[in-house]
Every structure is written in structure tokens, then in C-alpha cells.
């Protein structure tokens, strides 16, 4: 191998490695952490207070113009969704432990501090909007469903049974909140099991409840730091850990932080791709000349 060829090879190899995998130093060190906006709002759901009346499920549908989900067997007419779906942005589930202990559980969008759905969305159809609400703009959505695969909570749902589908997810009734109102689920709750407010107020409230009645609660506020933090906080019944309620153990870092950190390390200022293109351009031009191409009508 000639020295020039070796240097070209080395240049390409190092540029390619940089471009493709990111320098190892990019891997080291803690991931950058996102913080919620100062006026962030959210929900606090206290499972010990919920009686499972599902008034919030009904009122959510009303406020968001969602049709009933009557997909029950034998044609019985109930609005009885079995999970979040394209007709259901909010649902109450019942979890039953092996010891017979039960707990209700509310599921809706978690309004992550660093949402995976907004991170992956090509042209920001899903985005972190005012007050930290994760909002959806169907006018920009191409229906790629990356938000669905990326969301650790499986929240965004897709209208599978139509030729002109949309993504459906809780937007914290932003049309009501913008006018100074509260989300429909909160307004509907007869027991204040779910409350709406400023994120930091809710966080202090949740921690206060844990401190006042430690025997009543599972000793953790879910969403405080989980997956980089969420704007919906949860308290669970003593003895029932959150993973039993369908809230995964995510650690304290968001997936978006890892993905964005690695990608931006590689594509910082687009320098690596431009450098690689320059090296490649030179190498190709050199081969082109040496192989006598581009003359005599042959490529």
C-alpha cells in the first residue's frame, strides 16, 4: 500500500468513524438534563383517593369530542375502552396484586419534561408547547408512528381503521387550560384523586402527602425524576410498586437525552459530514483521474 493511499484510507476511516459512531468522549460524562419551563403545569394522581368511578373517562371524551368505544362482545352498548386507544385519551384501570390487594390507576399522557415523541418527530407535529404541555399539530403529522415506538409509556395512539388517520393523545385539555380552565378529568373527579396545578406546587404537595402519611403510600413520587421527569406525578398505595401499575422503571435519564446527545455529538454543526464529504470528494477525484474516467465517453 502506497503512503498516500494509506493516508487517504486513514482519513476516510477516521472521518467515517467520527461521523457514524461519535467519539468515545461523547459517550462519557452525564447526559444533559432538560428542565421544565417555570410555568409548567401538570397533574397529580393519588391512587389512594381514586374510587374508579370513571367520571374522568366520560368527561375527557366529552371535552375532546371523542366517540364512545363500544367494542364490547355481544353488541352490548357500553363505552368501555379496554386501554388507551384512538378513541380514548384517558382511562382508569384496575390492578390486582397476588395478595388480593387492588388499586386503581389513571393513564393518560405523562407530559414528559423531555418527551421522546417530540424528540423523534420529524417536523414537530408533536411538540413541547406552552407551559410544558406536549401538544399535537395534525397539519404537520405524516403518520410515521415513530412517536408510538419511541414513547416509553405507549401513550400516542393511531387511528388504524381509517384512510385519513391522526395520532390521538392527551394534550392536557390545552384548549381549556389556555382559557384559564382545568383539564376535564380534573373537573370531573369527585374525590380530588387527580388535581391540576403548577408542576412545582404539585411536586411539593405529593412529597408533603408522603411525609404526612408514610404508612398510606408507596414511598416514591413517580415522575419526580423518572425518565428525566414527567409533568404528571403519581402516588401509589402502600405495598404496590409503580411497575405493577404499568409505569415502567426508566431510571432518571430520558431516552431522548441519550439519543440527542449521541446524534448531536456526531453531527455538531454538521462539521463531521462536511469534512467526510471533502475527504471523499478528494479521494474520488483522485481515483477518477488515475483510473482515466470521465474521458472518452466512459464513466
Amino acid at each position: 500500500m502506497s503512503p498516500t493511499r494509506r493516508s487517504v484510507l486513514k482519513g476516510i476511516a477516521s472521518a467515517a468513524t467520527l461521523a457514524a459512531t461519535g467519539a468515545p468522549e461523547a459517550l462519557a460524562g452525564p447526559l444533559p438534563k432538560k428542565t421544565p419551563p417555570p410555568d409548567a403545569v401538570g397533574l397529580l394522581y393519588d391512587a389512594t383517593r381514586c374510587i374508579g368511578c370513571q367520571a374522568c373517562v366520560v368527561k375527557c371524551k366529552e371535552a375532546n369530542g371523542l366517540p364512545p368505544d363500544s367494542g364490547t362482545p355481544r353488541g352490548a352498548m357500553y363505552d368501555a375502552p379496554d386501554d388507551l386507544n384512538s378513541k380514548t385519551k384517558n382511562i382508569i384501570k384496575l390492578y390486582k396484586g397476588e395478595d388480593g390487594r387492588t388499586s386503581f390507576m389513571k393513564a393518560q399522557c405523562m407530559h414528559c419534561v423531555d418527551p421522546a415523541c417530540a424528540s423523534v418527530c420529524m417536523i414537530s407535529a408533536l411538540y413541547k408547547g406552552p407551559r410544558g404541555i406536549v401538544a399535537y399539530d395534525p397539519g404537520k403529522c405524516v403518520g410515521c408512528r415513530y412517536c408510538q415506538t419511541a414513547c416509553p409509556f405507549n401513550v400516542p395512539k393511531y387511528e388504524w381503521n381509517t384512510a385519513f388517520p391522526k395520532i390521538v393523545k392527551c394534550e392536557l385539555c390545552r384548549h381549556l387550560v389556555e382559557k384559564g380552565g382545568v383539564p376535564a378529568c380534573v373537573a370531573a373527579c369527585p374525590r380530588e384523586a387527580v388535581i391540576f396545578g403548577g408542576l412545582e406546587t404539585l411536586r411539593a404537595d405529593a412529597k408533603g402527602r408522603l411525609a404526612r402519611e408514610p404508612g398510606k403510600y408507596y414511598p416514591k413520587v413517580y415522575g419526580d425524576t423518572d425518565g428525566g421527569g414527567t409533568q404528571v406525578l403519581y402516588l401509589s398505595v402502600a405495598g404496590i410498586p409503580f411497575d405493577k401499575l404499568g409505569l415502567p422503571d426508566l431510571g432518571t435519564e430520558s431516552g431522548a437525552a441519550l439519543s440527542e446527545h449521541l446524534t448531536h455529538a456526531v453531527y455538531q454543526g454538521f462539521i463531521a459530514p462536511i469534512a467526510l464529504y471533502a475527504v471523499l470528494g478528494f479521494a474520488v477525484w483522485r481515483s477518477w483521474r488515475r483510473q482515466g474516467l470521465g474521458k472518452g465517453g466512459q464513466e
Binding site: 476516510i12 461519535g22 405524516v142 387511528e159 388504524w160 431516552g255 446524534t263
Partner: protein, 407 residues
């Protein structure tokens, strides 16, 4: 070693009838997929596919795009050798490789449109003020869209060479000559782009799964996903070139290209061992080797991937075996299978949305994928018969191509 030989292309159209039985059979299969697609666009993805809210990506993404474009990386792999590393002896492989790449990538692009729920908004993606610079998929989309155009430009000398001789159509003839002039001047810039873009998006296909820290099985989730995807793209590209040329030699009854291809296999051995080593060391360093020893479904899938790659690497280790056309083809198939399985595992098998979710493609869904492959075959047959793509038997460097063994 000097590289100042003139590597003329010596490519020629294969000729022969277009409407063969194979061609018509492929056309029928493709027509069927168009019917299924019409249905998909009327009723939506739910009734036609096996996809659901837990598995929102099915085979149209995992196979047609993620695996299909890697199998279509022949144009990329050979361009690296031929243009970036100045190994002019591979020049005869360029056109057939670029043709299959162009077809594979174009069909992957078509699959994406079919898969997108709100395809009518696609035109908003290239508008730069809309871009979410955090989105890996945006980079993949822009790169693939551009690369499809780049591939057809790379291939265009084969077309203009024919068209500029069509004296019957003076307009076409003049236009082709003019385009040929531009190509001779500017193709270098396009060729460099043809190496840069796959480097970017093939690694980014792996980066797509980085964000799924909790959903992707720990045997597949690693910060090295982009590297592993880039390595498999290069490997599968080389393997596809070997596979396709063996197939073309067989179908068109041409002499075997083993002599040119054998050094290519030698390079693959190195890449294979790097891939295997990186994967193993990465799992070991992050304490995940125990998952392999669990011998559950996932560890078997992992071990199968490793076995396919290792098998190919061992087969190709000896120089003598590399020059055996049968061994060469067999190991290329092992690599294609291993790489495809790795990518399938990363996007579907190892993807764990939670209890209660499952996915298996429906028959209409598979019909679309098979129909698209059939279209690739018929388009390939038409193009190699009509345009100078396949080389004519005398390899550059004056190397005689190994004579085809008599049967």
C-alpha cells in the same frame, strides 16, 4: 503497485426478449400487490396489516426499509472500494451494484409512502424551516430521498450511452449528449455524495432505536447501534454484490466473476471479525453477556445472528476457499441472512412494547413486500437487457475471468 491503468467499462446490454416467463410472473405478482395497496389506501392500515398500537412498525419498515436498503448497499460498498480507495479493478462491478441499489432504495422509498398514515403531508418534510434537528428519522428521510436521486444519476451514464446513439430521435440524442457532458464534468461530486449519504443514513437507521432505552431488548440496545448498523450495511452490500453477480452469471449464462470477487470476500472477513468483536466486547463491558447464557428465545436469536456471521467469516478465512465460487456464494448468503436477522431483531423481535402486544404480518402486508421485490426483479431484467450494465467478460487489469465450470 500502480493504478494508472485505464479501466474502460466494457459493459453491454445483454439483449434478448423482454417478455419472458419470469418477467410476466413478476409482473403478475406486482399487479397483485397494487390491488392490495389500493385496498390499503381506501380502508387504512388497520384492516390490511398486522400493525397495532404496540407494534406500529411492521415488515414494511423492518424489512423493506431497514433490511432492504442494507441489501441494496452494493452500490455503496463497491463505490467505497472503487472510488474512495482507488481499487479500479472492481470497476466492472459498479454498474450492476448501483442498479440494484437504485432499485432497492427506490422501492424502500415507495414502501415508506405506503406505510405513512398521512402521506399527503410528506412534502412538508424537505422544508428546512420545519425541521426538528433532534429527529434521527428526519436525517434518515432526507438522506434516503437524496440518495435515491444520487443513485439514478450514478447510473445515468448507462442510459445516456444508449440514448445518445438514437439518431432516429434527434431531440433525445442531443439531450443525452449534453447530459453526458455534464456527467463527465460533475459526476465526481455526485459519487462522493453517494458514499457520504449511506454512511450517514445507514448508521442512523441504528440510531433510530437509541431512544428506546426501555423498549428494545438489552441484547440489541447499545450506544454502538449506529456503528453496528453501518458495519452490517457494508457487509450486506458486499454480500449482495457477490450474490447478484452469481445469479446474473447463472441466468444469463455468463462466465463466473470469481476472480474479481474473491479479493472482495477477503475484505469482508476483516469487517466480519470487527463486527463480531465489537458486539461481543460491548456486551461484555456492559455486563450483558449473562443474557446470552439465558438460552431463551432472545438469546437463540442472538446466537443465530452470531453463528451466521461467524460461519461466513470462517469459510472466507482461507484464500483458497475464497476462490471457490460455491463457497463464496454460500458465505455471501450467510452474511445476507445474518445481517437481515440482526436488523429484523433490532426492529421487531427485540422490540418489546409491553405485555399483551404482538405482531405478525398479514398476508396482504406480505403481498405488498413480495410484490415490490418482484418489481425489482422485473425492472432489473428489463434494464440489464436494454442498457449496458453487465460487463462483457474480460475483467480490467487484463485479468481473464475464471471460465464457468461445465455442468
Amino acid at each position: 503497485m500502480t493504478h494508472r491503468h485505464k479501466h474502460k467499462h466494457n459493459a453491454a446490454a445483454v439483449g434478448g426478449p423482454i417478455l419472458t416467463r419470469t418477467f410476466l410472473a413478476c409482473l403478475a405478482v406486482f399487479a397483485l400487490s397494487i390491488v392490495v395497496l389500493a385496498w390499503r389506501f381506501v380502508v387504512g392500515l388497520g384492516p390490511t396489516t398486522g400493525m397495532n398500537d404496540g407494534f406500529p412498525w411492521g415488515i414494511w419498515i423492518a424489512f423493506d426499509v431497514v433490511t432492504g436498503t442494507a441489501l441494496a448497499c452494493g452500490g455503496y460498498s463497491v463505490a467505497i472500494l472503487c472510488y474512495a480507495l482507488n481499487e479500479g479493478k472492481y470497476h466492472a462491478l459498479i454498474r450492476p451494484a448501483v442498479l440494484t441499489s437504485a432499485l432497492g432504495y427506490s422501492l424502500a422509498g415507495a414502501s415508506v409512502i405506503v406505510d405513512l398514515g398521512r402521506y399527503w403531508n410528506v412534502w412538508k418534510i424537505p422544508l428546512i424551516w420545519n425541521w426538528n434537528r433532534n429527529s434521527v428519522l428526519l436525517e434518515v428521510a432526507i438522506c434516503i430521498m437524496t440518495y435515491v436521486v444520487v443513485l439514478w444519476i450514478e447510473l445515468s451514464p448507462a442510459f445516456v450511452e444508449v440514448w445518445e446513439k438514437q439518431e432516429k430521435y434527434p431531440l433525445l440524442c442531443r439531450a443525452a449528449r449534453r447530459v453526458h457532458g455534464w456527467l463527465n464534468r460533475y459526476l465526481v461530486a455526485i459519487l462522493a455524495l453517494g458514499i457520504l449519504l449511506p454512511t450517514m443514513h445507514q448508521s442512523s437507521l441504528g440510531s433510530l432505536m437509541l431512544i428506546m432505552t426501555s423498549k428494545l431488548h438489552k441484547l440489541w440496545h447499545t450506544p454502538l447501534l449506529p456503528f453496528l448498523f453501518l458495519a452490517t450495511a457494508v457487509l450486506m452490500g458486499y454480500a449482495a454484490v457477490i450474490f447478484e453477480s452469481a445469479l446474473a452469471d447463472e441466468v444469463f449464462d455468463r462466465p463466473r466473476e470469481t476472480r474479481i470477487l474473491a479479493p472482495l470476500s477477503g475484505i469482508m472477513v476483516g469487517v466480519l471479525f470487527v463486527f463480531l468483536g465489537v458486539r461481543f466486547v460491548d456486551l461484555a463491558l456492559r455486563g450483558r453477556l449473562a443474557l446470552v447464557a439465558q438460552l431463551d428465545f432472545y438469546s437463540w436469536m442472538f446466537l443465530l445472528e452470531m453463528a451466521l456471521f461467524l460461519g461466513a467469516a470462517i469459510l472466507l478465512l482461507s484464500r483458497k476457499r475464497r476462490y471457490n465460487p460455491g463457497v463464496e456464494l454460500f458465505s455471501a448468503i450467510l452474511i445476507m441472512l445474518g445481517g437481515s436477522l440482526y436488523r429484523f431483531d433490532t426492529f421487531l423481535v427485540g422490540f418489546q412494547p409491553g405485555p399483551g402486544w404482538s405482531y405478525f404480518p398479514t398476508i396482504p402486508e406480505m403481498a405488498v413486500t413480495i410484490g415490490f421485490v418482484a418489481f425489482e426483479v422485473l425492472a432489473y431484467l428489463f434494464i440489464v437487457k436494454t442498457f449496458p450494465i453487465l460487463h462483457t467478460g474480460v475483467a480490467p487489469h487484463g485479468l481473464e475471468v475464471a471460465p464457468k465450470p461445465s455442468r
